[in-house]
Amino acid sequence: MRSSAARTVFGCASVLLSYPDEHHARDLAAVCDALGRLSDGRARSELAAAAEWLGGMSPMEAAATYVDTFDLRRGVCLHLTYYRHGDTRERGMALTALVDAFRGAGFDVVAGELPDYLPALLELAAAHPVGATVLAEHRMALDALHAALVKTDGRYAGVVGAVCDALPGPTRKDRQALRRYRAEGPPSEKVGLEPFAPPEVLGQGVTIGATRR
C-alpha cells in the first residue's frame, strides 16, 4: 500500500475506533469522504462497512456498543502496551518510550490519555511517518486485538484488520509473541515470586503455569 493510502487508512481507523460522541455523525461523514480517495480493496470495503454499521445505529446504541466492546474487558483493549506487558511494572517504561516517540515527531498526547491508545497512535501514523513504525512495533497487540474483535458481533474487527494490512507483515518474533499471548494472556508480575517455588516448578505449570489461561 502506498504510504499516502496507508495514512488515509490510519486516519479513518482512528475515527472509527474512537468513542462515538456528539461529533460522531460529522466524523463518520469525513471518513466516508476520505475513503473515496482509497482505491478499491479490502481496506476500503472494511472501513466503509464499519462506517456504515456505525452510522446505522442510534447514537445511544453506538455508544453502548462501544462501551460494551472496549471499556469493560481486558481482552479487548485499545491500549496496546497492555498486550505485551499486562499490569506489570514493565508497562510504565513502555509507556514512557511511547511518550518519547510522540515527542520525537513533534507531538504530545492530550492530558488524561495514555500514549499507547490506538486511536492516538493512528492519528500519529496519519500525521507522521514514525507512527507506522510505532504501530508495526506493536504488531502482536494489533493482531491480538483483531482476534478478540473477530469474536464480537460488530464490524470493529475489520477496522483493525485494515490497519494491520496497511503495515508490514508480522515478523517471526511478532508471531511468537502472539502465540505466547494466546496461550498465556498478558504476563504476570514476577517480581518477588522467585522464592515461591524452584525454577523448574515455576516453569512447568505445576503451580503458576497451570493457572494461566
Binding site: 445511544m60 462501551v67 471499556d71 469493560l72 499490569d87 509507556l95 488524561g112 495514555l114 518477588g192 503451580t207
Partner: protein, 1254 residues
C-alpha cells in the same frame, strides 16, 4: 592470561597490535584526556549498568500509601517519568520504635503491590457511565420539562413504566459514557427531588473503613451530613465489629499495635490468620518466637497460620466458645479456687466487675441472678458507705437525693462487710457531684470478691441457662452461690456467679457440680468441651494452665489474637466474651504484651476527633443521621419477610417470654421507639415537613411529635418498611463494594432494593408467622431504589448494578491520610500523577456534586428545618437514660414517652441547601463554641482555628466568610491533623486535662513530652509520623512504649466506659436475661435446618452434601485487590473456588477442580471444587469476596449468571445487639448494633454439568 585492567579489553587488546606482539598491554591503559588536562576518562564497557540507571532516572519521586481496604497502611515511594508512573519501592524511612524491638519497616505486601499497575489497567473505570436507557429517559424528560432536571427526575421516577424500564435493566449492561456535567446534574437532580418529595433521610451514603483514606471517606459523609442524608455504618454490617467489646469494655475495638505482639510471652491465635491478613506485621509474631513466645493456634482447618503454631487445637467451626468456657473452668479451678494468685485477685477487684453485688430473684425453687445492686437500693440509714474515704462523710447525704444513685454499683467491703459504693461507676461520670470521682481508686476499701465463707452467708441454689442441649431452646443448670443480705435484698458477687456458672464446685454450695475435669456430662469441663469441639480435654486443660501460669509469671503478658473465624458467628458476642473472660481472669488487659487483639476489619483513625468532626460536618450542624447498616439493609431489602422463626427461639429457658409472638423486625421496631437504636428514615413523613408542622402547631417539638405518634398520625418508618414513603430513594456507594463483597443476602438486594434478576428461592413467612407489629404488604415491593450511584475505579458487582458509575482516583492520584491500629504512624497519600482519563478523586466528585446540588436547590429547597430522631448515645449523658437495664415500653403504657429518656431524642437542625457547597468547603463556626468531642472527652479547640485560617487561607464572602478553607484535599487533611489530639500535642494535653477534672487522677503528663508537637500534613509527606498519646484512645504510647489498649485505665485508674466503670463479666439488661446471656456462655451456631427445614432441592437420589458454609477472608480477592486482579489469582486457580473435604467430595462424586454448585434458599453460586483434607468434613469454605461477573458461569439451579459468596447468606439479627439507653449498651456509630453475621449458614453442594457457559 592475567589481566590487570578490566572492561576495556577490546581496545586494550588492540593497543600493541601494530607491534606484531600478540599480547595485550599489561602496564598501560588508554583513555581520553579532558580539555583541562586534569583527568583521563575511560569510556565504554558499562552498558549493562545503563539499564539499571535508566530505571532510576525519574522526574520526581512521590510518597504515597497503599491505601487499600486493609489495615496495612504501608508507605511507598512512587517514581514518575514523563508524567507516567514507572516504578515504586517500599518507603524505608519509618521512625524507629526504639532498641529492643523489631522495627516496622519495610512495609507492604504482595497484594498491595499487585494493585500498583491497576492505574493503567484496561479493567479500570475510566469514564462516567450512565445506563443508556436511563440517560435517554432523562434527556427526553428534561427537554419535555423545559430543561428542568429536577422535574425530569420526578417525572421518570413517578411513572411506573419508565421507572421499571431502567430498573429492570440493572445488571444487564448498556452503559454509555456521559460528561461530568450531565451526570452530576442527573445525580444532583435525584437528590434535590428526593429531599423535597420524601425527605433528606431517604438519601443514603455507604462507604467503609475511613482509616484507609480518611479524606475520601469524609468528602462524601460531609456532603450527606449537610444534606441530612442517612450515613450507614460498615463495621457491624461486615460482622467484623465485635459486640463483646462494648459489652465488656464499653469501648469498640481498641487493640494493641503489632509491635506489642513482641511483648507477649504466650500468644493464642484464635480465628485470625495473621500471616495472610496482616502480612506486613506478621514478622512480629515470627520474631517473638525467637524470644521464647509460645504460639497456640485454634483453627478448624489447617490454615496458613497453623504452621506457625507450637500447639494446634482444631476446634470444630463455631464451637470456640465451648473451648474457652472449659479453659475458664480450668483457670478458675486452679488459679482462683485451689490456689489464689495475689495479682489475679487484686486485678479482679480493681479492674473488673467481679466483686460487684448482684441481686438474686426467686424463680421457682431456686434463684436467678437479677440486676446489679445500686446505691439507690441501699438503706440510707446505715448500710451504705463510700469507698473513697475522703468522701465518706458526705456520702449519706448525697445518696439520699442523688439522681445518679441508680447508676452507682455496689461492692461489699471485705473487712467491714458493709455495702460500699466505690468511685468509678457510670453514676460518677456525668453528674456535677461525680467530678473528680470517676476513677477506680478504691481508697481504703478492699472489695470482697466472694461471699463464700462470710459471716451470715447463705448457700443459695441458682438456675442458669445452658445452650449445649436441646436444638435451640437449651436447658437449665442448677448451681449454687453464697449470698448475703443487704437490707432486704439477697445478693451475691459477680465472681460467685461466675464460679457457679463455670461449674467450679466449692464445698457446701447446693446444685449439680462436675465431678472433675473428666466429667463429660457437666458443663463446662474440659471433657465436656471435647464432645463439642473435638479438642482433647487434656489439651484444652494444658493450654488453659499454660496461658494462666504465663500470665501469672509475666504479670499479664498472655495475649489472644482473635478475628473473623470466631467473630462472624451469630453468637460471636458470646464467643468473644468467653475469650475476654480468660484475659480478665489472667489480669492481661491493659498490660503491654497481654490482652485481646481483635484483628478483623478493625481499623483506627488515629486523628479521630478532627476526622470525625469534619467527616460529619459537626463544624456546622450536630448531630448527623448515623445508622447501623445491618437493620437498614435487613428492612430495605425485605429480608425480614423471609424469617423462618419468631425471635423467641433465641430466648433462654429461664426467660420471661419477652420475645414471644414477636419477629426480629418487631424487636427492631421496639428498640427504635425506645431510643435504643438509630433508624433512618425515622418517621413515615418528610422530616422537613414535620418540622414545619410542629412549628405550625404552636406546640413544642417534643410535645407535637409525641402527640402525633400517640394519635397514630405519625409512625416510625421501621414499623412499615414497605410503605413507598419509607423507601430509600437514592444511594451512593463509594470506596466499597456493597453488592459484591459485604451484601449479606445479596439476592434479596437484587430483588427488593434493585428490582433486578435474582435467585431467591425462599418462601415468605406464612400468615401467622409474620411480624405482629411491623406492617405486612401482601405484595412485596421490588426496585425500591430510584438511583444507585457507584464511585469506584473498578467495575465490581456494585457498579454492574448501579445506574451511574463514576470513575475515581486511586491512591497514587490524590492527597489523603491513612492510619491503622497495627502501627502508630500517620501516613499521607500524594498524587504522583493527576487522575488519568476522566477520573476525579472522591473529594473532587463530592465537591462538584455539592456545587450542583446547591445550584439546583436554589428556588427549590431553600433553607429548611429538619427533625432528627437521635438514639440515646453512648459516651453522652443519655447513656444514663434507662436505669436498671429495664425494658419498659411507652407504647404499651409501661412508662411515659419522653424524648431523650424513654424514646429517641428529637433535635431540629437548619439545612441551608443553596449554601450546602459553601458550607462543605469551609471549616464551620460551631467548632469554635462547641469544641470537638470524642468518647465523651471534649477537646477545647481554640488557637487551632486561627492557625488553620493562616495555614489554609480563608473563604471570602458568602456564608463562610473568613472561615478556614478546606476545599482542597490537602487542606482538608491539614484540618484533620490540626483538630486531633494524636496529631496536635496541645489538644492532647488539653483533652487529658479535661478528663483529669472528671476523673481526679493525673493524666496530662502522658502527653507532656510532646505538648508542643504538631504533626502537619507536610510532615506526613516527609515521613510517616508517630502519633501522640491522647485521650482519644485508651492506651499510653511513646517512643519507649508500644500501644496497648487500656493501659491508661490500668496504670492511672481511669474507668472503662461501662456501667460499673470496670470490665464486665455480668450484663444485667432485661433483654440479656431474656437471651440467657447475662454471663459469658457457650451458644452453638444457629440451627438452620431446624428453622428453615431441609435445604435440598431436586431428585432425592442425587448426591448432595449439606455443609456448614464458611466465608473467610480471601487471599486472592479482597482488601488489597479484588477478584479482577490477575496477579493474586494466579497464585491459586483463578476463578471462584469452594474448598471441600476429600471424604465429603468422594461421597457426592466430586473430584478436584470439578464444577459444582452451592445453593440454599437464599440463592446459588457456581465454583470449582478444591478438594482437600485440610478442611474438616461437613464444612465447606468459599473465601470472600467473589464478584458475580468474573469468571462465573451460568447456574444450572437458577438459570442465571452465577452468584457471589453472599448469594447464600442472609442477615440474621440478634436482639441483644439492639439494646440501648443503658450505659455501655447504648447506641454509637460502628460502636454497638446488630452485626450481619454470616457463618451459621448451611449450603448444599452438588456436582454440576462440566459444560459451563459464561
Amino acid at each position: 592470561m592475567a589481566r590487570h585492567v578490566e572492561n576495556t579489553t577490546a581496545v586494550h587488546d588492540g593497543l600493541l597490535a601494530k607491534t606484531g606482539l600478540v599480547r595485550a598491554a599489561r602496564y598501560i591503559q588508554p583513555g581520553e584526556q579532558t580539555p583541562d588536562g586534569r583527568e583521563l576518562h575511560r569510556r565504554g564497557g558499562r552498558r549493562a549498568e545503563e539499564f539499571y540507571r535508566e530505571r532510576w532516572r525519574h522526574d520526581k519521586i512521590v510518597r504515597s500509601t497503599h491505601g487499600v481496604n486493609c489495615t496495612g497502611s504501608c508507605s511507598w515511594q512512587v517514581y514518575v517519568k514523563d508524567g507516567i508512573i514507572t516504578w515504586e519501592t517500599q518507603a524505608v524511612d519509618y521512625p524507629s520504635v526504639g532498641p529492643g524491638s523489631p522495627e516496622y519497616e519495610p512495609r507492604g505486601c504482595p497484594r498491595g503491590a499487585s494493585f500498583s499497575w491497576y492505574t493503567y489497567s484496561p479493567a479500570r473505570v475510566r469514564y462516567p457511565y450512565v445506563r443508556g436507557v436511563l440517560l435517554e429517559l432523562f434527556r427526553a424528560a428534561k427537554t419535555a420539562n423545559g430543561g428542568d432536571p429536577v422535574a425530569a427526575w420526578a417525572e421518570i421516577t413517578a411513572d411506573p413504566e419508565r421507572a421499571a424500564a431502567y430498573k429492570t435493566a440493572r445488571g444487564r449492561g448498556g452503559f454509555v459514557r456521559a460528561t461530568w456535567a450531565e451526570v452530576l446534574e442527573l445525580v444532583a437532580a435525584a437528590h434535590v427531588h428526593t429531599v423535597a418529595a420524601y425527605g433528606p433521610d431517604r438519601t443514603a451514603g455507604f462507604t467503609v473503613i475511613p482509616a484507609m483514606s480518611m479524606t475520601s471517606y469524609a468528602a462524601g459523609t460531609r456532603f450527606y451530613s449537610l444534606l441530612g442524608g442517612t450515613i450507614l455504618s460498615f463495621y457491624d454490617w461486615y460482622a467484623d465489629l465485635p459486640p463483646a467489646s462494648p459489652q465488656v469494655f464499653g469501648d469498640q475495638t481498641d487493640v494493641p499495635e503489632s509491635a506489642d505482639w513482641w511483648n507477649a510471652s504466650y500468644l493464642i491465635v484464635w480465628g485470625t490468620n495473621l500471616p495472610i491478613t496482616r502480612t506486613p506485621d506478621a514478622h512480629f509474631m515470627t520474631e517473638a518466637r525467637y524470644r521464647g513466645q509460645k504460639v497456640v493456634v485454634v483453627s478448624p482447618d489447617y490454615s496458613d497460620h497453623t504452621k506457625f503454631a507450637d500447639d494446634w487445637l482444631a476446634a470444630n467451626p463455631g464451637t470456640d466458645g465451648a473451648l474457652a468456657m472449659a479453659m475458664g473452668h480450668v483457670m478458675l479451678t486452679e488459679f482462683y479456687r485451689d490456689r489464689q494468685v495475689p495479682r489475679f485477685e487484686s486485678y479482679a477487684r480493681t479492674y473488673t466487675d467481679l466483686p460487684f453485688l448482684v441481686t438474686l430473684r426467686q424463680h421457682g425453687e431456686g434463684y436467678v441472678p437479677d440486676h446489679f445492686l445500686t446505691a439507690s437500693d441501699l438503706d440510707h440509714d446505715g448500710a451504705a458507705g463510700s469507698g473513697a474515704q475522703a468522701h465518706h462523710e458526705q456520702a449519706h447525704d448525697e445518696q439520699a437525693h442523688d439522681e445518679q444513685a441508680q447508676w452507682k454499683t455496689v461492692v461489699l467491703d471485705e473487712a467491714s462487710g458493709e455495702a460500699v459504693v466505690p468511685n468509678g461507676s457510670i453514676g460518677f461520670r456525668w453528674g456535677e457531684e461525680g467530678k473528680g470521682r470517676w476513677n477506680l481508686d478504691l481508697g481504703e476499701t478492699r472489695p470482697a470478691l466472694s461471699c463464700y465463707g462470710r459471716p451470715g452467708a447463705e448457700a443459695v441454689a441458682v438456675d442458669l441457662p445452658r445452650f449445649d442441649v436441646g436444638d435451640q431452646g437449651g436447658g437449665v443448670l442448677r448451681r449454687g452461690v453464697p449470698a448475703v443480705r443487704v437490707g432486704d435484698r439477697l445478693v451475691t458477687t459477680v465472681f460467685d456467679l461466675v464460679m457457679g456458672h463455670y461449674g467450679v464446685a466449692r464445698p457446701g454450695l447446693p446444685g449439680d457440680w462436675p465431678a472433675g475435669y473428666d466429667d463429660a456430662d457437666a458443663p463446662y469441663t474440659p471433657a465436656w468441651q471435647e464432645q463439642i469441639t473435638s479438642v482433647p480435654a487434656s489439651a484444652a486443660a494444658r493450654v488453659a494452665r499454660e496461658f494462666a501460669r504465663n500470665a501469672e509469671l509475666s504479670e499479664g503478658r498472655s495475649m489472644i489474637a482473635m478475628g473473623a473465624g470466631t467473630n462472624h458467628w451469630f453468637h460471636s458476642d458470646q464467643i468473644y466474651r468467653t475469650f475476654l473472660s480468660l484475659l480478665m481472669l489472667g489480669g492481661c488487659e491493659g498490660v503491654n504484651g497481654g490482652g485481646w487483639a481483635h484483628y478483623v476489619g478493625q481499623e483506627k483513625v488515629r486523628p479521630l476527633t478532627g476526622w470525625f468532626t469534619l467527616a460529619f460536618a459537626y463544624d456546622w450542624v450536630r448531630p448527623t443521621r448515623h445508622m447501623p447498616a445491618t437493620p437498614y439493609w435487613y428492612l430495605v431489602t425485605d429480608q425480614w419477610r423471609y424469617e423462618g422463626a419468631g425471635a423467641d427461639v433465641l430466648s433462654s429457658p429461664l426467660g420471661e417470654g419477652r420475645f414471644s409472638g414477636k419477629s426480629v423486625a418487631d424487636l427492631n421496631a421496639y428498640a427504635v421507639r425506645q431510643g435504643w437504636i438509630a433508624s433512618h428514615p425515622a418517621f413515615d413523613r418528610n422530616p422537613l415537613d414535620l418540622a414545619d408542622a410542629a412549628d405550625a402547631s404552636g406546640k413544642g417539638l417534643d410535645e407535637f411529635v409525641v402527640g402525633e405518634l400517640q394519635a397514630g398520625r405519625l409512625r416510625f418508618a421501621a414499623c412499615d418498611p414497605d410503605d413507598p414513603a419509607n423507601f430509600p430513594r437514592v444511594l451512593t456507594v463509594w470506596r466499597s463494594n456493597l453488592l459484591g463483597s459485604s451484601g449479606k443476602g445479596h439476592e434479596y438486594f437484587l430483588r427488593h432494593l434493585l428490582g433486578a434478576d435474582n435467585a431467591v428461592a425462599a418462601e415468605e413467612c406464612p400468615p401467622g408467622a409474620r411480624p405482629a407489629e411491623v406492617a405486612w404488604h401482601d405484595e412485596a415491593p421490588v426496585g425500591k431504589l430510584d438511583l444507585l450511584v457507584d464511585i469506584d475505579f473498578r467495575m465490581v458487582s456494585t457498579g454492574i448494578y448501579a445506574d451511574v458509575v463514576l470513575p475515581t482516583a486511586t491512591w497514587y492520584e490524590k492527597h489523603d491520610l491513612s492510619s491503622t491500629d497495627m502501627h502508630p504512624f500517620v501516613h499521607s497519600f500524594n498524587p504522583a500523577i493527576a487522575p488519568p482519563w476522566e477520573a476525579r478523586s472522591d473529594f473532587d466528585i463530592f465537591s462538584d456534586l455539592a456545587t450542583e446540588v446547591s445550584r439546583l436547590a436554589e428556588g427549590r429547597l431553600g433553607v429548611r428545618r429538619d427533625v432528627m430522631a437521635v438514639p440515646l448515645g453512648h459516651d453522652t449523658p443519655d447513656e444514663c437514660a434507662q436505669p436498671g437495664g429495664r425494658a419498659l415500653d411507652w407504647a404499651a403504657g409501661e412508662c411515659e414517652p419522653v424524648p431523650g429518656v424513654t424514646m429517641p431524642r428529637l433535635v431540629v437542625v437548619e439545612r441551608d441547601y443553596p449554601r450546602l457547597a459553601e458550607r462543605w468547603r469551609a471549616l464551620g463556626p460551631l467548632i469554635d463554641t462547641a469544641g470537638a468531642t470524642t468518647k465523651g472527652v471534649t477537646l477545647p479547640v481554640g488557637t487551632e482555628v486561627p492557625w488553620l485560617a493562616s495555614r489554609n487561607g480563608t473563604v471570602r464572602g458568602g456564608v463562610a466568610d473568613g472561615r478556614p478553607r478546606i476545599d482542597r484535599d490537602d487542606l482538608f487533611c491539614e484540618a484533620i491533623l490540626a483538630l486531633s489530639g494524636t496529631t496536635n500535642g496541645r489538644l492532647a494535653v488539653a483533652g487529658f486535662e479535661a478528663l483529669e477534672e472528671r476523673t481526679g487522677v493525673p493524666l496530662a503528663d502522658l502527653a507532656h513530652e510532646r505538648a508542643g508537637d504538631r504533626i502537619t500534613f507536610a510532615d506526613t509527606v516527609t515521613q510517616p509520623r508517630a502519633v501522640i498519646a491522647s485521650p482519644e484512645w485508651s492506651g499510653a504510647e511513646s517512643e519507649r512504649r508500644r500501644y496497648s489498649p487500656f493501659t491508661v485505665n490500668v496504670d492511672r485508674l481511669k474507668p472503662w466506659h461501662t456501667l460499673t466503670g470496670r470490665q464486665q463479666f455480668f450484663l444485667d439488661h432485661d433483654w440479656m436475661a431474656e437471651l440467657g446471656e447475662c454471663l459469658p456462655t457457650y451458644r452453638p451456631p444457629l440451627s438452620i435446618a431446624e428453622t428453615f427445614g431441609d435445604q435440598r432441592r431436586g431428585a432425592p437420589d442425587r448426591p448432595q452434601l449439606v455443609a456448614r458454609y464458611l466465608t473467610p477472608h480471601s487471599k486472592w480477592s479482597i482488601h488489597s485487590e479484588y477478584q479482577d486482579n490477575l496477579h493474586m489469582l494466579n497464585l491459586f486457580r483463578g476463578g471462584p473456588v469452594i474448598w471441600v473435604n476429600d471424604l465429603d467430595a468422594t461421597r457426592i462424586g466430586v473430584a478436584d477442580n470439578d464444577w459444582i454448585e452451592a445453593y440454599n434458599r437464599n440463592g446459588v453460586t457456581v465454583a470449582r471444587a478444591a478438594v482437600t483434607h485440610r478442611v474438616p468434613p461437613g464444612t465447606v469454605i468459599m473465601y470472600h469476596a467473589i464478584d458475580r461477573h468474573l469468571q462465573m458461569p451460568v447456574s444450572e439451579t437458577s438459570g442465571l449468571h452465577g452468584g457471589t459468596d453472599n448469594s447464600l447468606t442472609r442477615v440474621v439479627m440478634k436482639p441483644s445487639h439492639m439494646i440501648g439507653g443503658y450505659a455501655q449498651l447504648s447506641a454509637g456509630f460502628n460502636y454497638y448494633g446488630p452485626t450481619g453475621s454470616q457463618r451459621d449458614e448451611l449450603a448444599v453442594i452438588r456436582r454440576r454439568s462440566q459444560e459451563v457457559e459464561f
